[in-house]
Symmetry: C2
Subunit: 312 residues, 2 copies
């Protein structure tokens, strides 16, 4: 992987503004297009950035509030009209299927298959793996919001550096484990020995490439847990640090400084704030300043902004 | 009424294009804002034209295909977030309520009342009145489409000219009928006499101000019927006149020349074509030429284009 591209399609909270559309983030890993949330207007943004709706492979919906999901029926409908044939995978909380089915009564006669995976509510503090496919693993964890919201972690098992076959041979590690070790998996051999990537790889990076997207949440331990050492944490920051925490948290939202504190505690490399309330239109510099006091490598997302994440 | 403003918010068919959004037309009569259809992205267009979603009074949905209705859940959701208090009236085919309810589970706790009027399918060739409120009367009729689609007629009973009280007195017409006659109603008196506006008004125009919006339809007698003598007919024209009629009609759509023929037969004053398929991007001049061969006063709608309709 040369780089991972994260492009923000919509960065507002609740209602759109003149400059910010409803939440959606497009992630491209060189072979798959993944949408994180799908607010109304997402298909328009895709048109703008020149990515056909037919190229989307996976959609991850954090929760069922309208601003995060009302772009989905139209997206699917346009895919059908444009003759999509490949399957589409959609993950989200229970209720998603019902919502989509009543919008798209013709769901059964679509020219492609929509695989909807409803994630049962769970309170475990360990992330749950919902997809493992080649190099990509997607997990989720529940956050603190007024309705069930899942933060998603996307993890690419890319080569961590140069593999040292002579060392692997010396350690008697069967070749079938080499690729796993090379791409960041810890392996337990038949004889009980635990082998770590660093034992056989000249490390250029220490762990899989990882990004986390919170959706809506109050500052929350589960987000620290799922974001541990991530390359990028995309955290909601609906409000400024000037707001009273109890007012913000009770609504299931975060302030800029809450997100920055979470980023620092999770030891992430980069923090991107999104889901910015309309009241801060034009005041983004102030929000950024607040957050950077607690976590230096912070950015505030703008619509259509692209981040190129280099693995090495 | 000084003039009626018709502003096109979205003019595409099925999927959005770079220049055309999904169908919606905003009508403003000086006191009410009325939306004709509400495709995805309508609330964004309202932001662009500077009309708050909270100011919309009535929404008329022609049919339940996604491109005409998927903007509605988000519109209602934004109204709620922006603190709307006044009632909203929505008219559309049966199934609308179910669709909206599954999208907006919190419909009951909205800070304003959404009055949803589902129009039962009917095959009468006479328009059916669905709203009569002060000077405004709205009727509908079924068109020919692949799902139940209603064309809507909006009729404003405005003064047709100068009222002649001396004539009304001479004819012994009770004063309670004067306003009705003045604004274009035909009145049957208790003694059986039928009085027409032209009997007591110095006519500057012959009938109420009338606009018709078809939604999706093949060329259809019911549209001629409901559009008779209208000031403006907004007719779908998904395809060019070059297409084979049977291919277009069997899909429940019209060609430019079909719409023009209907306009001519209905004797309307002005025809506006909308619901233009993406394949004609940049070819609008050709479409217009086709239609004008059959009906001279034809226009092709563009997104955000405004038409000022002067009653006199």
């Amino acid at each position: 992987m040369k780089w991972l591209i994260i492009q923000f399609l919509g960065t507002s909270a609740g209602t759109p503004t003149r400059s910010r559309g409803l939440p959606s983030v497009l992630v491209y890993d060189g072979r798959r297009y993944i949408l994180l949330d799908c607010g109304e207007g997402t298909q328009y943004r895709l048109l703008q950035v020149g990515v056909s709706v037919c190229r989307i492979d996976i959609v991850l919906i954090t929760h069922l509030h309208g601003d995060h999901v009302f772009g989905l029926p139209g997206l699917i409908s346009s895919m059908a009209l444009l003759g999509r044939v490949k399957n589409l995978k959609i993950f989200g909380p229970v209720g998603l299927l019902d919502m989509l089915e009543s919008c798209i009564k013709f769901l059964n006669t679509l020219p492609f298959k929509v695989e909807i995976f409803e994630i049962e509510d769970f309170n475990d503090t360990n992330p749950k793996i919902i997809l493992a496919e080649d190099d990509l693993e997607i997990s989720c964890i529940k956050t603190m919001h007024s309705t069930t919201n899942f933060a998603y972690r996307l993890r690419w098992y890319i080569p961590l550096g140069k593999f040292k076959p002579e060392v692997a041979k010396k350690l008697n590690i069967p070749t079938r484990y080499w690729k796993l070790l090379h791409t960041g998996h810890v392996v337990t051999l038949e004889d009980g020995r635990i082998i770590r990537p660093e034992d056989v790889v000249e490390l250029r990076r220490r762990q899989p490439l990882t990004i986390v997207y919170t959706g809506d949440t109050a500052p929350c331990e589960n987000v620290v847990e799922i974001s541990k050492d991530a390359d990028v944490l995309i955290h909601e920051a609906t409000f400024s640090g000037d707001e009273k925490p109890e007012d913000v948290w009770s609504q299931g939202h975060s302030r800029t400084i809450d997100a920055a504190n979470i980023a620092a505690r999770a030891n992430v490399k980069m923090l991107i704030l999104t889901h910015i309330s309309a009241r801060y239109e034009g005041l983004e510099d102030k929000l950024l300043e607040e957050a950077r006091r607690y976590f230096k490598n912070t950015y505030i997302a703008y619509d259509l902004q692209k981040f190129y994440i280099e693995p090495y």
